[in-house]
Symmetry: C2
């Protein structure tokens, strides 16, 4: 039995099912002002009606709608101005038939009024008399009690991302502090005898540790906190010890592996020896990214990533990011869904059946269309990633895509 | 002359030209690991060739391509295995005609070799003898010196956003620290007698300060740092003093204005009285957002925003965000360009010529299409923003959009 027989390649779909089996990190409570972009850890119900009073939504006059019926430019209805509503104060006047009270947007409707006539449709003849030129319907230019949020109603769901508008709802409910999922800590271990820290000048045949820093950026943009554990030389004990430390200090572990077959076997051997270890995936049917390994140890995900930085980035976007979002508390239906945008392929692309291909593209506006323009160049070149706006996917069962095909672009 | 005659409405296009006249904030230097998402403040040129040596991009054997010519499954070429290349070390062997040297992905090509034969296309007969089954072309599976980045070449531009791949390039160049633009500080002043801080229970007719917190979230997501200055009651001096403080401490000022005509005049009066003040915009031909004010004082932008939170959000997305990006150092061609995605309108929408309309939409996948589904409900309701994924724009010269029209969705 050769080494290749062990290489039972998993589909991306299966990997994405496996990542759902990892548990979420714990929770913490944050001041509202620091919670944007974080994941809500509890359902939020409204404990008030919003608004708590009938509010004017236009500047004008609070009236009984019925008193305006039939009013027109030619035959204005006449009203007695009974006073005005001060902002932030409960009106001291009430409105009877044929009376109008001045009110500004956001003001509280006085008793008796059910409608607001816009300034534009009225004219004060003197301090006490108003002409109205248009019929108003009941509740016109009025936001009713509870029309925005109703007391007892569930308004936000646990697992959703907190955007500015969710901040707005939480502020309206007086939530100065918010329960959120903690940001997952993701350990990064680089491995390989040829890798040197970025502050060192690499000797001839050596390379700076590009991958760890690139992965760190990806982790931050995916809501995690990177924990750099340094470089393990090609030495079983060194890698094993860094993995143990990573499992103790982090919620997920990335090994930015040596890129050769030997180095990968080496990572596999270390992963198999970790406490309570299970190799879930050893090879994925995508390109680039085939040599990816996923293991579980102490209930945590440990990834062995391809050594080429461009391949590692693709694997991060299509597998690691959804996994990170999953343990970070995101709703399952939203995993990996962010940052995909539709475009149209600019030229024919060939592919091989039986594996998913990921192709770097640049987005170019062309009239009302957005074109996805494949970027040429060898797969290992980082400058091609700098030129790229995103990735497109060619399905396993496809032999390629024709020019003009609609594609979804995963933004990089 | 009535008050309305002063209301010279500006087009959004003109506002977007005006925001380009504000200057950028200063710069700072950050550790590379903290720079993701920030704006690069200098052009970066490569001071090295990357790679600095010819690298193998596959596991296999380094050879002279010419020695493999004519090789096939039926007629393999025979090679002498002359040694192997260790990762991270300069090869001690060289390759002569008919010789092969073991090499792993990322290894440095030995002298004399110009090509790599993949493991899959070769078989070692014994320790010293290799069969090769396929012709290799010169430079096959080799990344040449300088093929990724060339010494002296400009690789990153000042004003571009630092994504993980830019981090990768900076790491490859050994840039442990990065010059970036400082994050603009944006002061937020709420105004209005009806507004109470969010930790207070609003009395009947009062409202919690939803806008300040919503704007704070928007500022953070746009690369700024919010500075909450609290609530100014409807009192000229109070608002004036807060504006002076804002201009001293921040790079831009947002006044989350009272929503009534009176309150807006009030804001205008205060803005006119600020040092070196110039009112640039008083009213914009968009809906919602018409009552927006933009002033310049001490060379800084001061915005008077509409009082309805939903309107303020729209104004932020279409005007304030690009302005914030501009002073934050973003390239002009990229201002406000992020986060727009194409979709197709799900139903007919009416509009009024002469102003731009912004409509909240939910995005719904339908087969390969992404549908933009307008969200109904009064404009002031914050729950409609929670349900929304984005905004679509109806042009000034349009009377509406038909179902099926391609639209760009500004993600919320």
């Amino acid at each position: 039995m050769t080494e290749k027989d062990f290489f039972k390649v998993t589909t991306l779909k299966s990997v994405l099912e496996l990542i759902r089996t990892f548990s979420c990190v714990g929770q913490e409570v944050l001041p509202l002002g620091q919670s944007v972009g974080r994941i809500l850890a509890q359902d939020i119900s409204s404990d008030i009606d919003l608004p708590e009073f009938n509010r004017a939504t236009m500047d004008g006059y609070a009236v009984r709608a019925r008193s305006t019926f039939g009013a027109s430019e030619n035959l204005p209805a006449l009203f007695t101005i009974a006073g005005s509503v001060e902002m932030g104060e409960v009106p001291t006047v009430s409105v009877k038939a044929g009376e109008a009270v001045r009110i500004a947007t956001g003001g509280m409707l006085p008793d008796g009024a059910d409608s607001v006539v816009m300034v534009e449709h009225a004219q004060a003849l003197d301090e006490h008399t108003l002409e109205v030129f248009k019929s108003a319907a009941p509740l016109q230019h009025v936001m009713e009690v509870g029309e925005d949020l109703r007391k007892g109603e569930k308004v936000l769901s646990s697992g959703s991302i907190i955007r500015p508008q969710e901040i707005g709802v939480l502020a309206a409910l007086g939530q100065t502090h918010v329960p959120v999922y903690r940001q997952p800590v993701v350990a990064i271990i680089s491995s390989g005898d040829e890798i040197v820290p970025i502050d060192q000048a690499p000797g001839l045949s050596q390379l700076r540790d590009v991958n760890a820093h690139t992965l760190g950026g990806l982790i931050r943009l995916s809501g995690g906190i990177p924990l750099y554990l340094g470089i393990a030389r090609d030495n079983l004990d060194e890698l094993y010890n860094l993995c143990r430390r990573a499992l103790a200090e982090a919620d997920m572990v990335l090994i930015s592996g040596g890129s050769s077959v030997g180095s990968r076997d080496f990572t596999l051997e270390v992963l198999q020896g970790l406490p309570d270890a299970e190799i879930l995936v050893h090879g994925v049917s995508i390109r680039p990214g085939k040599p990816t390994i996923l293991a579980r140890s102490n209930k945590k995900a440990v990834w062995g990533l391809p050594g080429q930085v461009t391949s590692a980035m693709v694997v991060f976007h299509v597998m690691v990011r959804p996994a990170l979002e999953k343990i970070g508390g995101r709703l399952e239906k939203e995993l990996g869904k962010v940052r995909e945008i539709p475009a149209v392929l600019s030229r024919n692309l060939a592919s091989v059946q039986g594996r998913e291909d990921y192709i770097r593209v640049r987005l170019v506006g062309q009239g009302e269309q957005l074109l996805a323009e494949p970027i040429l160049g060898k797969s290992g070149l980082i400058h091609t990633m700098v030129k790229a706006d995103g990735l497109i996917r060619i399905d396993r069962d496809s032999e390629g895509l024709d020019k003009g095909t609609p594609v979804n672009v995963i933004l990089l």
